[in-house]
Point group: D2
Amino acid sequence: MSNKLWGGRFKKKTDKDFEEFSKSIHYDYKLAKYDIMYSLIHVVALEKVGILSSGESLKLVKALGEILKDVKTDKFKPDLRSEDVHTEIQNRVEKKLGKLAYKLHSLRSRNDQIVFDEKWYCLENGLAIGKLIINLIANLFFLAQKNEGQFIVGYTHTQRAQAVSFMVYIMAFNRMFERDDERMERFCNNLFAYIGAGALAGSSISRKNYKEAIKEFFKQDIRAGKIKPLENALDNVSDRDFILEFLSILAITQMHLSRLAEDFILYASKEFDFFQLPEEFCTGSSLMPHKKNPDFLELVRGLTGRIYGNLTSVLTTMKGLPLAYNRDMQLDKEPLFSSTETVKDELKIMAKFVKKIGLKKDSISKALCDESLYATELAEFLVYQGVSFKQAHDLVGKLVQYSEDKKTKIKDIPDRILKSFHKKLDHKSILRIMNPHYAVSSKKSLPQHKMISRRLPKKKTRKNK
Amino acid sequence: MSNKLWGGRFKKKTDKDFEEFSKSIHYDYKLAKYDIMYSLIHVVALEKVGILSSGESLKLVKALGEILKDVKTDKFKPDLRSEDVHTEIQNRVEKKLGKLAYKLHSLRSRNDQIVFDEKWYCLENGLAIGKLIINLIANLFFLAQKNEGQFIVGYTHTQRAQAVSFMVYIMAFNRMFERDDERMERFCNNLFAYIGAGALAGSSISRKNYKEAIKEFFKQDIRAGKIKPLENALDNVSDRDFILEFLSILAITQMHLSRLAEDFILYASKEFDFFQLPEEFCTGSSLMPHKKNPDFLELVRGLTGRIYGNLTSVLTTMKGLPLAYNRDMQLDKEPLFSSTETVKDELKIMAKFVKKIGLKKDSISKALCDESLYATELAEFLVYQGVSFKQAHDLVGKLVQYSEDKKTKIKDIPDRILKSFHKKLDHKSILRIMNPHYAVSSKKSLPQHKMISRRLPKKKTRKNK
Amino acid sequence: MSNKLWGGRFKKKTDKDFEEFSKSIHYDYKLAKYDIMYSLIHVVALEKVGILSSGESLKLVKALGEILKDVKTDKFKPDLRSEDVHTEIQNRVEKKLGKLAYKLHSLRSRNDQIVFDEKWYCLENGLAIGKLIINLIANLFFLAQKNEGQFIVGYTHTQRAQAVSFMVYIMAFNRMFERDDERMERFCNNLFAYIGAGALAGSSISRKNYKEAIKEFFKQDIRAGKIKPLENALDNVSDRDFILEFLSILAITQMHLSRLAEDFILYASKEFDFFQLPEEFCTGSSLMPHKKNPDFLELVRGLTGRIYGNLTSVLTTMKGLPLAYNRDMQLDKEPLFSSTETVKDELKIMAKFVKKIGLKKDSISKALCDESLYATELAEFLVYQGVSFKQAHDLVGKLVQYSEDKKTKIKDIPDRILKSFHKKLDHKSILRIMNPHYAVSSKKSLPQHKMISRRLPKKKTRKNK
Amino acid sequence: MSNKLWGGRFKKKTDKDFEEFSKSIHYDYKLAKYDIMYSLIHVVALEKVGILSSGESLKLVKALGEILKDVKTDKFKPDLRSEDVHTEIQNRVEKKLGKLAYKLHSLRSRNDQIVFDEKWYCLENGLAIGKLIINLIANLFFLAQKNEGQFIVGYTHTQRAQAVSFMVYIMAFNRMFERDDERMERFCNNLFAYIGAGALAGSSISRKNYKEAIKEFFKQDIRAGKIKPLENALDNVSDRDFILEFLSILAITQMHLSRLAEDFILYASKEFDFFQLPEEFCTGSSLMPHKKNPDFLELVRGLTGRIYGNLTSVLTTMKGLPLAYNRDMQLDKEPLFSSTETVKDELKIMAKFVKKIGLKKDSISKALCDESLYATELAEFLVYQGVSFKQAHDLVGKLVQYSEDKKTKIKDIPDRILKSFHKKLDHKSILRIMNPHYAVSSKKSLPQHKMISRRLPKKKTRKNK
């Protein structure tokens, strides 16, 4: 560590192993953009309290602007000998401006900077994830629409339950992702960065000066509203709620992705045989020449471990920490970045993936011929004929059992026997009721005209139609 | 299990051990209130589609009302031989009305009922927890106000950092709890129960009929708005997002409680000696006669395990479940109830606890004499004199080191030597700067007039003044 | 709390809510047996140092013996007003013997007792779980043996991979459970209880006296060896490693159970259709009359959440606790008991369950006709003919693709075309190689004579033969 | 991915994003050493079954040996376009030997290789961690011995409890680490790698051939014993127990480290003031010039999140996976490597750290003057005088309270008043009993001659004396 932001009272050199151990530059460099933003606002504030002359301020803004440009054009390669991103940027300014750089770190603390940086990271990535979710929703909707009118077997307990429309099946996942998107949107709406907490006790720059500095920096940019006047300095530097909330939201999204993956893995098996998966997202076996494995879906399912683990990690780290900042908190970043990047990758690839899924319609049709799928409709038919539900349930249960024992289809049972189960039962009504069309059309509780997702941008859905 | 809601097709008796293993009545009886509410709405809907006559409907409403009354007056003792709360209520209706009861379970499924019940449980408990948080905030504020004007040592890294006002210290925790309350409020605002999903495929009762049934049931009750028309049947019966969100919110609240507990444990130690804990919440030792232990705070800290564990539990259970309902989902209730009841107890007792904390002002004053607490103020003083921060930081670091080496107070260092560190330093300025009054009053970034909590009901805060 | 083991210095009554909150009697009463054992040894030790006369000692032993008898005959109903099991037993002795009871709690601490009790709980339950695992292994082996000579489809990635013998398939689970059993056995072998740690600092009773007391108490009982002389008092009262180790072992066992459950759920689906599950362990649907759901397996899979959550819980609670005992540690018991009882129930029912599984041999045979299952054997045949594996892999991959495209079986492809893929390929060799008998018998790396479990008691396995 | 180990039947190119997403080369290259070891054994086996001529075998051994040398001399830079380490090594062999390389991957599968590789990783790192633990134990022992005869305050509930010897205090941590070491040793002793499982179904190479190949490869090397004949092929490729066990062991070690860290953070605070931490392992503040923060200890405490999170991660991933191999399992490696490397770093630095801790003996002595520390000894004194413990406990509790109320030391209370508490109490006995020498020497249950660690190598401990 060539250049530290501290050390006046230290006589001994930092132990090399510990120095490596405690560094964060190899991952927190990802926050450079936000850290520079903080510094740019801070320069304005320092000028206001007279610590910087307007000339000095101008030079600092220019130097910081140059570094920011490097970041944005991907030319920012951090010096891995720096302790952290704050030190790295400070060093770069020093290289450009010499001793003037020393004034930049007046009246502020890395404790305050880091929480500012992380909040902006969450904000920007929260918005990006929202967009990726919307895109996945659109592509799932595309898959459903491409197969409009298609029915599919609905399961409970991994046992065939009732026939449902494929659209409703797909839209079940879209409802999950819509909630994820809404949750993320609410999170972003309610997330605000604060400025001026110092190390823990506040700063001598007034709230008024900070407000003006923010205003001058952002000008008309609506993002100005995301920085609010400080509410509590001790709380601000030790608050990691937003990271836990962000990781919790991602954990729920990941859970949804794991369920989608599980269903699709099953549907792509030889046994279910409902889906043809796109080869571009499958792999083979180094030993078994015939294999086409749903690796993407398996990795998505398996990544649930990582995403849950990252949440556990930060929750554990934050347990029982005394006020205010503690170095333990440095360890929030790797799990945050890991979950963010992982979920973004999954969403991005999943959207491409689902669009290319093919339906094996013959195989699905064959499964839909399973009469037990319509037992419920048959029981409900009897209920509308005045039979109590318990009785109807018993009776149809026995009819199903009879057909299994006799290895015959219910529709092939002669009226005489059907009527011995219940007088209202006959071949004709069986035919009418025990099929997917009747099953689906008899469900009046489902929305008819709201099939398309609420979260989908209007234009997009229109185009899809 | 005397009486099951299924079994028509089953020839063999359920294994006794499995029956015990799979039961949920011993905990899900807590949902009876909400389950009856669902049934009452359902009765209206069944009448609308002609499955119940108005006479039958009336009888069912009366019977359900009687059971509800038992629940509300704590007279509802579930028969532990029942499989679950739905069966239990069904059986009670049957005992009252005989075969008419059989019609009650028409066109609906326990899959749909249970998610309805759990959502109302979350809603009611979410509101209750909000109130308990507000109460804790009020009592923490009371503690702070009782000690107005008091300073305290602010820590980072469990090392003395800077002097802060005791009000700001306490309000740091209040800020945390305010966010918890806001988070819970947002959760409740965005939580809606749906009706009519059947087992997974929807119901033959129309949306219109459901809407009217809800309207007729609730009349003017604003809670009517918390039941919305079904959006997706498969999703509805397999959605447990709200439980995960609820448990995540509680996990963050619990983390805050653990931090409060940790700080207060430290402050109650002989070494810190800042707090006198109320004896009513401490215990002694069976061996060591002198002990007065902060057991309540330790239990609160330790309970973090339970609350995190419950979140892990439901996250794990939900991983990779295929659509739609699976029996695994039954296992969401015990963690939900456990976290809810635990956090409610903690909040309730903590509120009483904090009100009775005494400050050991002599001991705190002694700690505030530690001059290193004001090193930052001294450095910033130099900055305002034109010294660059880096230089000021170095210089004060060396001055602190000097005073430690010489075992002398900085305020006792003669001007001659002070000036050798920097010409602007002298005894007079040291005296002016290195004390808590200056330290706190020089912080201009803190809010001055918003000390009281935003979440506190107006009246209460006024009374407290 | 009528009667506490502490309180001399306390002036205020304990807050009622806190008293309820901090109690453990409603669950730690399960440790009564072990707590009395500790007391019985302690009485001997107290006599040795002269604190008890031999007459007093005799009376205490008698009183404790009576309570122990109540515990063993299930007549021990704890008074829920007691703080914990130690207090409860102390109170009972007091009721029997009056003031003499006061001497019983000399020179020891609940901190020491509780860790002793918990270790014995783990020991006894560890052994019991070992037996349940062995029983499950035996029953799985029974299932395999009942179906000797049966083949089944082996999967990777939930895609058909290669044919394997059903025995090997079942024995894969038995290998997992064998490791669990071995792990538990090692745990029990290496677990020792200590005595004499006091609250944290040790006791004035000498090691020699303790050793003799243990010897006199246990006489020839081999369990005497499980109590060792104290190694470190501070460590002993704050050690919860054994609980974490126990919960980790159970977590791995639970993971195995979840995998077994998942496989069997799939195999019981209409789509795989390999298994007929025993009706006694299934349930139906309250709405869908035809359903027979694998609820037991789903609950086992879902319980993974509980078992993982309990491990997370105690790990979290133990994080960062200062030495020595802290009240947080009280919270280790509920997760410990919960995981222990849950896994015991699962193992017990699973053993009964697997024994009654029926194989749907027709359906399995049909699946085994899938030629792609033998692609690997075909490739390896070519390798033995001198083809490099990469080439053989490519070539068979293309052959599989060809047969899929042409919708023909490989065995129906004329020799002419086969030979165009590779000259060594012909109808005859295809027939010989592409079937489960060849596939299984060509695997020379598998053990032939060690099919039976190493962990199965000799007699049992012999009988099974 | 220039060169894959599969793909014969694939017509479409792998999607670029998915390819990146699914790669593991950027971390599994760490397994190269073990993967080559597997290959070297495999070459011998392939020769035995005639697939390789002895000339081919020799060439392959030479090529693999060259790659191994690169790995050992840190010259192995993996091509990040490779899919995984197996592919990377295959490609390198191909570059060296052309088509002969194609024969290397005969009759084996990456499913089998990876589990072999990971087991050796665990073995080697398990041994390395054992050594690091022993080293930490030695250095903690060094710290204790350097301060022989020193007493320190013993705490329970973070409240002063009883005086203990500093040696016993430090040895409490050593007992924890001894258990960690023993646990790891047992783990290594019971870990065996298997060979010949193929993808899931076994291999056509006989057990005898494998055994001979292992023997020929290892010659006299005792590590030969760590590879055992295959027990079950399906189990072998899907077994990750050893990783979960390894991560559980590390989680317990990490818990111990977090407790050590917490204690030392407290003891380094101005309030406790027992320890002088080595500056080389502390850092300062960028804002507050006086700060010397225990960052290393805080990071250790905070890393508990990472280590617990990694365990949660793999447990979650493994939940409910069907037999046999699934791609999800690829995700076990990053958590495994992360926990291994983290704990190694912590142990290594902690060992250096503890050796340099200085005791602030004046400050400790002052704390040891607190008379309440000896209340227990006083009560026990009375017990030996025939007072029942309950009475003695009450009485001393009141005496402590009296001295607190009167703000007087117990040793300054006149005999007259002492005797009013109990006739056996007087100034002389108070002086004799209420001091650390008496307190520590009266504890007869502690081992006297086994202070040194059982796990410490004999020579080392002798030298330390």
